[in-house]
Amino acid sequence: MRRIISARLLPQNRTCHELGIKAVAVYSEVDRASLHVLKADEAHHIGAAAASESYLDIRKIIDVAKRTGAQAIHPGYGFLSENAKFAQTCAEAGVKFIGPNAAAMELMGSKTRARQQMEKAGVPCVPGTSRGLESFGQAERVAEEIGYPLMLKAAAGGGGKGMRLVRSREELKPALESAKSEALRAFGDSEVYVEKLIANPRHIEVQVLADEHGNVVHLGERECSIQRRHQKVLEEAPSPIVDEQMRRRMGEVAVRVAKAAGYTNAGTVEFLVDEARKFYFLEMNTRLQVEHPVTELVTGLDLVHLQIRIAAGEKLPFAQEDVHIRGYAIECRIYAEDPDNNYFPSPGKISLLLTPDGPGIRHDSGMYEGWTVPIDYDPLLAKLIGYGSDRAQAVSRLRRALDEYLVGGIKTNISLFRRILGDQDFQAGKPDTGYLDRLLHTTQVSSGDQHADAAAIAAGIFATLDSASATANGVAGDRPAVATASTWKQAARIDGLRQ
């Protein structure tokens, strides 16, 4: 391959450069100054900020591929990464889609169809229906069979949309109606199915890689139970509750899932694990996951690199027995959001950026000082990953790194990670999917004010330095010296003082 197109992702650009491939970025009007554009070999504007007019516009992206002679498109995550129609259009245009084929994506895109296929392949699924509910009467009958509490889920769903918890018979009808309505609005498909609620589950996923020659391997699991509103916040590999035997069993099932779907390239098989450590197939994500760096760190493999080689038709360069898990890795998703305002997005200009480094720290970032975080997209700024020979070391390295980290000018969720990593339940490896909600409902104990004196002195020194700088430059504090260059303003001020 000589040219690959990517959207809003830096790792693909870096890997392309390592492989001697030209990286072609596509960007919307608000992303001109984004890092993925700055680090690309070529960049092409594809439209307005609204994703529907740029990153979700299949025709525009294919046009760029044809114009630039790109041989492949890496869809990254989000946008069109799990869109079977896009994969199909790429194939028809003679451009390689770096991911699975459209048929596998379509199968896994429908949770009910995926369940049907997995049941045929003998994969354990959560008790429930494998087809959409056709009527309220059917929903009532199924609910009586499997028992309350239960979950209603959208067949085309994801991210918690079209999902409802039903605790009793009385709640079933309104929940079914609202789930259907939300699913229709979000996905254009009102199909809803039912699953037994697994109490206090863990969300554990297995990374798989499949080449186009029938070879499929798994790369161990990731623990993704720490979630807020069904969105992952912190991930780690390996899971604190998965031992070697359980890893092997989950891995075998994940490989079976990939084979049953005719899957190729990188994918993730998600499981719910109950309190007895029994696991059930949940769904398959047919793309690279945001949290893939933790798997890279514990396996020593470069997943984007392998994705490109698989897409180029190469065989997997290793077998299952060559995959070894070594050490622990934990990832924090750094978002531009305001912890004091219910994690509302906090876009704006980054005025100061201090990033951590040192042993065992990896910082995958899409930001830089002076960049303005747009309001138009998911406000993920960076991923901070800590690695250690054991979990305690990974935690302590990450806590140290968080103390060194500062993103000024906007609000971020960095303080949330300090809280999680300092929590005893987290350190004991106990969190389930309800952990973060419980933590956020507890009052945070103040860590004291032992540094308040230093803060008071620093406040005075900053003010004194600002004042000295203003005197030297003729302007206040942090404003750039270039602002003083206006002869018009200086003359006006002097004249004003004379009157």
Partner: protein
Amino acid sequence: MIYDVSIENTNYRLELNRTTTGWTCSLNGRPVQLDVALIRPGVLSLLIENQAYEVKREKVGSEIHLWVGNQRYTAELRDPRSLRNLKDGAGRQQGSSRLTAPLPGKVVRLLVNEKDQVAGEGSPFAGERKRPGRGRPGGCGCGSHEDAERDQVPQERHSAEAHSRRGHQCERRRRASDCGMNRARAGSL
């Protein structure tokens, strides 16, 4: 310099002096041995009684946050000898105040014009100021359909009481500015 510093609602009286060899400092009347290095804009290294601190400053809107280690402090600082502070302390309802945009976005419509009279409970920017007080807009920092950054000042408000007093100053400033501009123009020609 003498400052009244408030850190998380605890007040300090801070005296700082810059000498040829460094800084002298006293905190609440207690002398403090201090060494300071400015590492980069917004980042200080402090040695206080030989204890090392890295202090990072970030400005979020009108607030100043100071990070010492993993602890964040909200700081407010006043010069007790400053006439402006004395005036502000005497009556917050008087003088001009700034209404800022809480989030970035597009200004869809301006509800007031410059010099309009604003009723006590009728905010020109709904929800941005709980008790806007009486007054009239002194100037708008953005127009209808323009993008506003977070904490951009879309409007400066002059209180009714202060307006007549400030009006004189505004006029004087305007004349000064015009004269300066004319002079600079003349100079450049």
